[in-house]
């Protein structure tokens, strides 16, 4: 029965392949540096990714106002992979081969990143990936400016443990990011003395809308007298009916808090947040953070998008950081050549929006503060806990047996995405 949507996708993708093969604007007269923007502008992920496309356009716009990079103006090449994972790879190939872009900012879901990874490695391109993800990957050609699990999931669980949580529901959408994250969290919880029958793991399909039994199960699981929390890796718009059902069945945050890793300001702008007050989210940035940089960023964003009601969120900050680091690296290297930029960028620092410093690490992840926020009735988060400094992103989880000994380091002499510190061997970029 799924074939129907497959046919639809196929037709949609051919349609877009034809119509959007012709890309945005060009200033043929003067020489420019081309920057690829690879975000879905249609399909299920458009909800989240459209904003990121606008963010990159805004950053490019701002940079051009400052005179561009290396004396040249930047030019955005926007393509639409239409939430279709194979199309991501095709579009990436076109960006690198045809448009010869210097760097690409794009992807949201892990499956789209996995889809374009071989293309970027084959054609030696640069991808800045702005979303929190499951880790277990480090490529020479990819810069992960979102959070690795140790920059989001693990600190969130630590926080809840400190709040006295003893029973855990790990609820997620059924795909690679939630499954890997939950595997890491399960291992971590068990190492911290949580018994297996105090952990309930649950997966639902993309776009799940009937949450009655699951919420009821959570309620029963949490009624044994031990403090219970839900760690949610539910992704996309399935969160709306999930939180609605929580509200309807009377589960308040004071009874069973839900800490979400994929729910930010943008997602909340589609919900009435009154029943959600007190539920948590773990991110590295919140719009409500009080800092001069952030105020300026929000102001620029509202100015650019011409709508005062639009919110900012964590992946937007990630693009902001990635973009600034790339600009610095290009200026430092004096060229947009992939290999030179890739070497120049490691160790560079840029101020983040929450008052700290983001530094590009040799494993192509960055340092980030971890913030835990509680949802307020205006759809914003109030920060209830944060790390004292920044946390360096760790590509390979220390809690999974297979990746404990792996390390990523793209500087000489190791130059490897998964270097085994025990056997002193490099296994290639994503081998398990």
């Amino acid at each position: 029965m799924e074939s129907n949507s497959l046919i639809k996708k196929l037709i949609v993708s051919t349609y877009f392949a034809v119509s959007l093969g012709i890309t945005f604007s060009s200033q043929a007269a003067e020489e420019t540096i081309k920057v690829g923007v690879l975000h879905s502008l249609s399909g299920t992920m458009a909800i989240s990714e459209t904003t990121l496309k606008d963010t990159v356009l805004m950053l490019i716009d701002e940079q051009n106002k400052k005179g561009g990079v290396l004396g040249k103006k930047l030019e955005a090449v926007v393509v639409d992979p239409a939430s279709n994972w194979p199309l991501f790879a095709e579009k990436a190939r076109a960006l690198l081969e045809k448009d010869k872009v210097a760097a690409v900012f794009g992807c949201w879901t892990s499956v789209s990143r996995k889809s374009v990874l071989p293309v970027f490695e084959e054609l030696n391109g640069l991808l800045f990936y702005p979303v929190q993800y499951e880790g277990e990957e480090s490529s020479k050609n990819v810069f992960y400016t979102g959070a690795a699990p140790n920059q989001q999931a693990i600190p969130a669980v630590d926080y809840l443990m400190k709040q006295g949580v003893k029973r855990w529901v790990l609820a997620g959408t059924d795909y690679v990011y939630p499954r890997t994250t939950n595997k890491i969290l399960e291992a971590y919880l068990k190492q911290n003395g949580v018994a297996s029958n105090d952990i309930l793991i649950n997966y639902t399909p993309f776009g799940h809308s009937d949450w009655q039994s699951i919420v009821s199960d959570i309620k029963k699981f949490g009624s044994t007298g031990k403090k219970t929390a839900v760690v949610s890796t539910v992704n996309g718009d399935a969160n709306v009916p999930f939180y609605k059902e929580l509200g309807n069945q009377g589960l308040s945050a004071a009874d069973i808090p839900v800490v979400a890793f994929s729910v930010g300001e943008e997602e909340l702008s589609g919900i009435d947040t009154k029943p959600l007050v007190g539920h948590l989210a773990a991110w590295n940035y919140f719009m409500s953070v009080d800092s001069a940089n952030n105020a300026e960023f929000i102001n620029t964003w509202h100015h650019f998008i011409k709508d005062e009601r639009r919110v900012t969120n964590d992946p937007m900050e990630a693009h902001y950081l990635g973009f600034n680091l790339w600009v610095q690296a290009v200026e430092k290297a004096g060229t947009t050549d992939t290999d030179k930029v890739e070497q120049a960028i490691v160790g560079l620092e840029t101020p983040n929006l929450t008052g700290g410093i983001a530094k590009m690490l040799p494993n192509h992840h960055i340092t980030k503060p971890v913030l835990i926020g509680e949802i307020q009735d205006n759809g914003q988060f109030a920060v209830v806990w944060e790390t004292t400094g920044t946390v360096p992103g760790d590509a390979w989880s220390d809690y999974l047996p297979g990746s404990k000994d792996l390390e990523a380091d793209w500087t000489a002499p190791i130059k490897c995405g998964n270097y085994n510190t025990k056997t002193k061997m490099c296994l290639g970029s994503t081998a398990k």
């Binding site: 029965m1 799924e2 129907n4 949507s5 046919i7 639809k8 037709i11 949609v12 502008l41 249609s42 399909g43 299920t44 458009a46 909800i47 459209t50 709040q163 059924d174 649950n202 997966y203 639902t204 399909p205 776009g207 799940h208 809308s209 009937d210 009655q212 039994s213 699951i214 009821s216 199960d217 009624s223 044994t224 007298g225 718009d237 709306v240 009916p241 609605k244 059902e245 509200g247 309807n248 069945q249 009377g250 945050a253 004071a254 808090p257 589609g270 919900i271 009435d272 029943p275 007190g278 509680e374 307020q376 009735d377 205006n378 109030a382 209830v384």
Partner: protein, 543 residues
């Protein structure tokens, strides 16, 4: 919701003094000297621990102005004024404005724009502190519903001052429901009493209720009470509770199943007419549902102050809008393709893409927010372990109502007669003077309109976005084919039974696998009975 009756001020004051003497006993043993004037500004501290400390001290203060302040804080009506910063109570007056009141002097500070004051934010720990403080306070509220909620909050508390308050309230409580829960709250701490007789008495009180707190407290007694008679009583009480819980759970699963089924029936019933009766494979059916949902959104946006009733208005509106779209589709495309199912499939599939893109272009590619009216939020508590959510309950009833209405239209009206005639034998119907082309238009309009009505219901349960129709098209065809093409009863039975089957499997198979198993079952079933549960009989079967 006015929690305080200010017309009876002296009463409020004595109550306040009493309660805060109580709270002083709960939170601190010694009273602290800080005055309200000193404590209040500390609620605006930057860090939550500092605010928590201020809140704790406030809760122990026996100043009679505190209850109003804490209530305002709990309701998110406490602000820090930005000019000449003091803490104020801000009540929404005209939209975008707040009427400020000084909580210390009760002086009216006039009306200001909402953005000129900063709300005092809370975290969960502060909310819990507030909840308990207010619950003690609400225990002798005039409104029994508030008393009930307050008493519910106290379950499992074994602080002597709280118990004393419960005892006092029990002595004067007249409402049975509140009395019951007070008795339970008082019995719970007795389970750990030293005297076995007291424990036995407590068990007999708790034996037949389903509050999780009671069950949790009985478990250790049933496992390891030193007194054998207590132990056996606890075991017996526990097994009786578990038996009742099992029944509650079965009822709950049945309700969940029927509710899921009602959504399937609603989504499919329009298709049962266009596909079942007319034989048109309408791939744009899901988009007609989407149009209904968007109509709900537009009606709600147009009537922002009528939130509780606009959804009722949306039902006919969605019917008309979707029916018009359906008629347009029938007149411009489908009528040229009767008898050519493959072409119809492709053409309507194209239409579904066009409709999606229309919505993206003219409304938004993002999901839109459809509010739930107040009467559709929350749940109806049957017992402490079982509560039926109102939204699902109403939609179940609504689905049945739509079904009955449709059945009546087909059975009791001239249109229905003509529809049945044309679907059974077009040539003969035409020979008898039925204008078959007109009937086709009306039938397709009817099916489309019903899809729009389904959209109204779905907008209350799930996301309203350009893609929402795609989620339902497959399920709809599945239900219609399983029920038997051309049979409304089949659609009803198929939808409800698939829903229940799905929900029975979900707890042990998980949501993903349950869906797969249902699909596999239907495939096998169709192999065995290609015409579904209720195949058409007689001559119509050959047509």
């Amino acid at each position: 919701m006015s929690l305080f009756c200010f017309h009876n001020r002296s009463f409020v004051l004595t109550k306040g003094a009493f309660i805060f003497w109580l709270l002083a006993g709960i939170f601190f043993n010694e009273s602290q000297a800080a005055s309200l004037e000193e404590l209040l500004p500390q609620l605006a501290e930057r860090t939550f621990p500092a605010k928590q400390a201020a809140l704790d001290s406030l809760a122990t203060s026996n100043d009679e102005r505190v209850p109003a302040i804490l209530t305002a804080l709990a309701q998110g009506e406490l602000y820090l004024r930005s000019v000449n910063p003091i803490i104020v109570i801000g009540q929404p007056s005209t939209p975008g404005n707040l009427r400020l009141i000084d909580p210390l002097t009760q002086r009216d500070l006039g009306e200001v724009g909402a953005s000129s004051s900063k709300k005092i934010t809370l975290n969960n720990k502060m909310r819990t502190t507030l909840r308990l403080a207010l619950a003690v306070w609400h225990l002798n509220d005039a409104n029994p519903t508030i008393r009930l909620a307050a008493a519910r909050e106290m379950l499992g508390e074994n602080n002597p001052t709280v118990l004393q308050a419960l005892q006092n309230q029990l002595a004067r409580e007249s409402v049975v429901a509140v009395r019951n829960i007070l008795v339970i709250a008082l019995a719970l701490p007795q389970l750990t009493a030293d005297d076995a007789v007291n424990r036995l008495k407590a068990i007999s009180v708790l034996a037949n209720n389903l509050y999780p707190e009671a069950r949790n407290a009985l478990v250790p007694l049933a496992e390891s009470d030193p007194d054998p008679s207590v132990k056996s009583a606890a075991v017996k009480a526990l097994s009786s509770i578990d038996r009742q819980l099992t029944w509650s759970n079965r009822l709950e699963t049945l309700f969940f199943g029927l509710s899921l089924g009602s959504v399937l029936v609603l989504a499919a019933i329009g298709l049962a007419i266009t596909f079942g009766v007319m034989g048109v494979i309408n791939m744009a059916h899901g988009e007609l549902i989407m149009i209904g949902a968007y109509t709900t959104y537009l009606v709600q946006t147009a009537l922002p102050s009528w939130l509780d009733y606009s959804i009722l208005l949306a039902i006919p509106a969605a019917f008309i809008v979707s029916a018009l779209f359906g008629i347009l589709i029938e007149r411009t495309v489908i009528r040229f393709l009767y008898g050519r199912p493959l072409e119809t499939l492709l053409a309507t599939f194209g239409i579904s893409l066009i409709l999606q893109q229309l919505v993206r272009t003219f409304i938004s590619a993002q999901n839109v927010v459809v509010q739930n009216p107040g009467w559709m939020s929350g749940a109806w508590p049957i017992n402490p372990a079982l509560a039926l959510t109102y939204s699902r309950l109403y939609i179940l009833i609504f689905a049945l109502a739509v079904f009955v209405a449709l059945l009546l239209v087909l059975r009791r009206t001239n249109l229905g007669l003509a529809v049945r005639a044309v679907s059974q034998n077009r040539a003969m119907a035409r020979a008898m003077g039925v204008r078959s082309a007109r009937v086709d238009v009306l039938t397709f309009g009817l099916g489309s309109g019903v899809a729009g009505v389904a959209g109204v219901a779905l907008s209350q349960l799930t996301n309203v976005g350009p893609n929402m129709g795609q989620a339902y098209i497959i399920d709809s065809f599945m239900v219609v084919v399983f029920g038997g093409v051309g049979n409304l009863w089949g659609t009803l039975v198929a939808g409800l039974s698939l829903g229940v089957a799905n929900k029975i499997m979900e707890p042990w198979a998980g949501a993903v696998l349950a869906k797969i198993l249902v699909l596999v079952f239907i495939i096998l079933f169709i192999q065995k009975r290609p015409r579904g549960l209720f195949p058409p009989r007689g001559r119509a079967a050959e047509g």
